[in-house]
């Protein structure tokens, strides 16, 4: 796979009367983001050397970020809101719990993904006929159904007692949480690469136009429902991967990990991050997962402050964290220009 090189820049800029601003759009080099993620992950492990608590928090952030990448595509590209994605987390989690030790990690991950995708395509074909809000309600039912099944199908899930002794992904000769963290970072880099590839592909563009203007998309030959199912299936893939990581980190699979709260977290992460932005899953997961942990020094006021912060983001940054980044970036640039003069 080669990175797409920006095209006839010479010809385009030569014709441009006003130069730089109107050039061929900067197509992100799609390896940039994975490379940055891997680099930061390595720095955290080798330089920062976090303690056990911090490392657990970082790993959970990475796991949720993995799961949220697909959600970012679903909400940000396709404009579909689902509140049932904990079902796919559970599919990946329980598949890992049941299969990782007897069958090995690859089988466990792949079967988790397969189950999640089958569920997503079936549910998508059924539910995506519905209009936006009804689809959300339908997926809520789907998520709740998943929790009920996890609690009661004791033959498969061992009910509320859960499945323990699930092992973990061993990478780079590391052990314990460190290894899970490294694996989560690698998987995150991989799904981010997929996300960026999808965004710049015709399918990604079709998803976008299907979100903005379905009638126009139809007139362009885009099958909007099919695009939505593809996005839903992609969200199931990353959710299954994230679910497997969450289970490894917790040391077992329990129904409580896959409740509606998890679904809501998955929904909030890309929205807080700035839906559709390629960094939204990671930034959103930092805010939604890590921030409450580091506000523990506030004791009883922790959730109050956290709630106020999230509300403030929703009120003042409707574009999510991305908006804040963009604004400060352009402010910095204009400052830099002034300084140069």
């Amino acid at each position: 796979m080669t990175a797409p090189t920006p095209v006839p820049t010479t010809a385009a800029t030569a014709a441009a009367p006003r130069g730089a601003t109107d050039g061929v759009p900067a197509r992100h080099w799609r390896w940039t983001q994975p490379a940055v993620i891997l680099l930061v992950g390595a720095l955290v492990l080798l330089v920062l050397r976090p303690g056990p608590f911090d490392l657990r928090v970082f790993t959970l952030v990475a796991a949720y970020a993995v799961a949220a990448v697909g959600f970012n595509v679903l909400v940000g590209f396709s404009g579909v809101v689902s509140v049932g994605n904990a079902l796919f987390l559970a599919a990946g989690g329980y598949a890992w719990a049941r299969l990782a030790v007897p069958q090995g990690p690859v089988v466990a991950l792949l079967s988790g993904i397969a189950v999640a995708v089958v569920l997503a395509v079936l549910a998508g074909m059924l539910l995506l006929r519905l209009r936006a809000y009804y689809f959300a309600v339908g997926t809520l039912a789907l998520g709740t159904l998943g929790t009920i099944v996890a609690r009661n199908w004791t033959g498969l899930t061992n009910g509320d007692a859960g499945i323990t002794g699930v092992g973990f992904l061993q990478v780079f000769g590391l052990t314990g949480v460190t290894s899970i963290f490294a694996a989560a970072i690698v998987i995150l880099a991989l799904v981010c690469l997929l996300q960026e590839t999808l965004r710049t592909s015709p399918i990604g563009l079709s998803m976008l136009v299907g979100r903005y203007d379905p009638p126009m998309a139809g007139a362009l030959g885009v099958r909007v429902p099919a695009m939505r199912i593809v996005a839903f299936a992609f969200s199931a893939v990353t959710a299954a991967l994230g679910g497997a990581l969450i289970v490894q980190l917790a040391g077992g699979a329990f129904p409580d990990q896959f409740t509606t709260t998890a679904s809501i977290n998955l929904l909030i992460i890309p929205i807080i991050g700035g839906r559709g932005w390629r960094w939204a899953p990671l930034v959103g997961a930092l805010i939604v997962i890590a921030l409450p942990e580091y506000l523990r020094f506030l004791d009883d006021y922790r959730l109050v402050v956290y709630g106020a912060l999230v509300t403030a983001v929703a009120l003042f940054l409707p574009g999510g964290a991305q908006q804040a980044f963009r604004q400060s970036w352009s402010w910095l640039r204009s400052r830099a220009r002034q300084v140069r003069r």
Partner: protein
């Protein structure tokens, strides 16, 4: 066809195959309304078929049926492409698009957050390998480069190649339309359905779009063109289909069809060039026709309404360009022109209901940028086309309410007396429910409500709309009485008989531009044909580009 269209993605090659779009027996109903009622239509490769008709004739609905945006209640749609016949009667819009039927909507519809070139890439035909490319399999980068190159080629054809990276939402309306055309170019569509492609475009953009449509036609694309501006239709279309009330009224070669008196009558709406009025007092009106503008007292003081270089916008789209006129007390200007000319839009711009630029002055007060209530307070009044009035109130209550919400410049009794002088029959029914009034009386009531604010200028939007023809003289009489009281009026009207009877001046608009203006005496049948049917050149009429000030000089008074 020039080199760019032989794009490496393989799409545009399809243009070489001839395409024929056939719709037979198409019909669809919305509730009780049969919007399209058994229409047969055919568009062949390399021809441009003009589709015209009055508002509500079913033009856009027919396009929707052909493109699959609306599914028909019955009838067949087939696309023949080379040897292959696509039967599309049951197919949705995506399938029809894949069969090579491209559709352009009335407003440009791009994804605003994507760049120009990405928007063009959206038009490339879908391919089976798209899904593999989405997960980044080898060859994705090469395919991406090919797509980008094809899109840039298309942008070069519409002369936008220097702006590929611009956010589509930040382009002007005309440029967005050009991007849409580039999107059609890369799609390799054999049939193109265009819904008013010139709406809201500037002169140069119109030229570019017209040239592109012409070159697409030469490339062998079959085009169905819905357009109100008949000058453009004459220029571009090979054949004309005239719709009326959902069915085909006439079809045939452009010039012959436009000369058909039945078409003229339908298309221009209620245009009765031979004024067919049966006024209460025939002599009064006869006298007016004979003498041109009714004898009026000498100009009373300075102008009460000056409109200069008015541009009115729907959103960011300028719909009316550079319209100028001036009224002195008692003047009446009739704004005339075909559907979509921007007549009502101009009125709404003056009333402040739509954003406008240019100078608007009422009795010396500059209204530019003022909100609607401020404009009303300055002496403007607006009688909209749909004038229900508050339900369940008596005529008297409605008038009192209008006085209360108006400027209350003059005392209630005094105002009522003034309205009584104009409309004695209205005041006679003060205690009756408004719903019990006749159509003509309701129109009087609507105008009466406007008069309760003691305006100096009244803007009226189609005062005869929905009225029986027999009531037209009553409305004409109403307007004349108002003018006799020294109130200036601007009236948008389809019924040219009314305009002749009640106005002193005429401003002709076509496609948002002032194409004619002059005193009523000069407004003859030939001029009306010029304004409505766009005969001859782009800017017909005997004095097109003349700005308002010179109109004053010319004014016989």
């Amino acid at each position: 066809m020039s080199a760019p269209t032989t794009g490496p993605t393989g799409g545009p090659t399809a243009i070489t195959a001839t395409s024929v779009l056939t719709g037979t027996g198409l019909h669809v109903s919305f509730g009780a309304l049969r919007a399209v009622d058994g229409v047969d239509i055919e568009v062949r490769s390399g021809e441009c078929v003009g589709l015209i008709g009055a508002n509500g004739a079913g033009k856009t609905t027919l396009l929707n049926l052909l493109s699959g945006a609306v599914s028909a209640d019955g009838g067949q749609v087939t696309v023949t492409r080379g040897e292959h016949v696509h039967r599309l009667s049951r197919a949705g819009a995506p399938q029809r698009a894949r069969a090579g039927v491209a559709r352009m909507f009335q407003t440009a519809r791009l994804v605003p957050d994507l760049s120009v070139v990405e928007n063009v890439e959206l038009g490339l035909p879908r391919r089976g390998t798209d899904l593999l490319e989405a997960i980044g399999l080898p060859g994705a980068a090469r395919a991406a480069r090919r797509r980008r190159a094809a899109a840039l080629d298309a942008l070069a054809r519409v002369d936008l190649v220097h702006r590929p990276g611009t956010r589509a939402g930040s382009l002007s309306v005309g440029q967005q339309r050009l991007v849409e055309l580039a999107r059609v170019l890369v799609s390799g569509a054999g049939i193109l359905l265009l819904d008013e492609p010139f709406a809201g475009l500037s002169g140069t953009a119109r030229r570019t779009v017209a040239d592109l449509i012409g070159s697409l036609r030469r490339d062998g694309v079959g085009i169905l063109l819905v357009e109100h501006d008949l000058t453009r239709v004459r220029e571009l279309a090979d054949r004309l289909v005239v719709l009326d009330a959902g069915s085909v009224l006439a079809e045939g070669p452009v010039t012959e069809t436009l000369d058909d008196p039945a078409v003229v009558a339908r298309y221009i709406g209620d245009l009765e060039l031979e004024i067919d009025l049966v006024p209460d007092d025939p002599h009064a009106l006869d006298e007016q026709f004979a003498a041109g503008p009714a004898p009026r007292p000498e100009p009373v003081g300075p102008p009460v309404l000056t409109v200069r270089d008015l541009r009115v916008f729907h959103g960011s789209v300028p719909v009316v360009h550079e319209t100028s006129f001036t009224l002195t007390p008692g003047d009446g200007i009739g704004l005339v022109g075909p559907n979509g000319a921007g007549k009502s839009t101009a009125l709404r711009g003056i009333a402040g209901l739509l954003r406008s630029t240019g100078e608007i002055t009422v009795s010396g007060t500059d209204l530019a940028g003022r909100a609607t209530p401020d404009r009303y307070a300055a002496g403007l009044a607006f009688v909209p086309q749909v004038h229900g009035g508050p339900a369940g109130l008596t005529v008297g209550d409605q008038l009192r309410l209008a006085w209360l919400s108006g400027g209350r410049r003059v005392g209630y009794r005094e105002t009522l007396e003034q309205v009584d002088e104009v409309f004695p029959e209205l005041l006679g029914r003060r205690r009756d429910q408004a719903a019990s009034l006749s159509g003509g009386q309701r129109q009087m009531l609507a105008i009466g409500r406007a008069l309760m604010a003691s305006p100096t200028v009244v803007l009226l939007d189609e005062p005869t709309a929905g009225l029986a023809p027999a009531l037209v003289p009553t409305v004409a009489d109403t307007l004349t009485r108002m003018r006799d009281r020294g109130v200036a009026i601007v009236v948008v009207e389809h019924n040219l008989g009314l305009v002749r009877a009640a106005c002193s001046h005429v401003v002709g608009l076509r496609a948002g531009r002032q194409v004619w203006s002059g005193p009523i005496a000069d407004f003859d049948t030939a001029t009306a044909h010029d304004i409505f049917l766009g005969t001859g050149t782009d800017q017909p009429g005997h004095d097109p580009a003349r700005p308002a000030p010179s109109e004053e000089e010319r004014s016989p008074r």
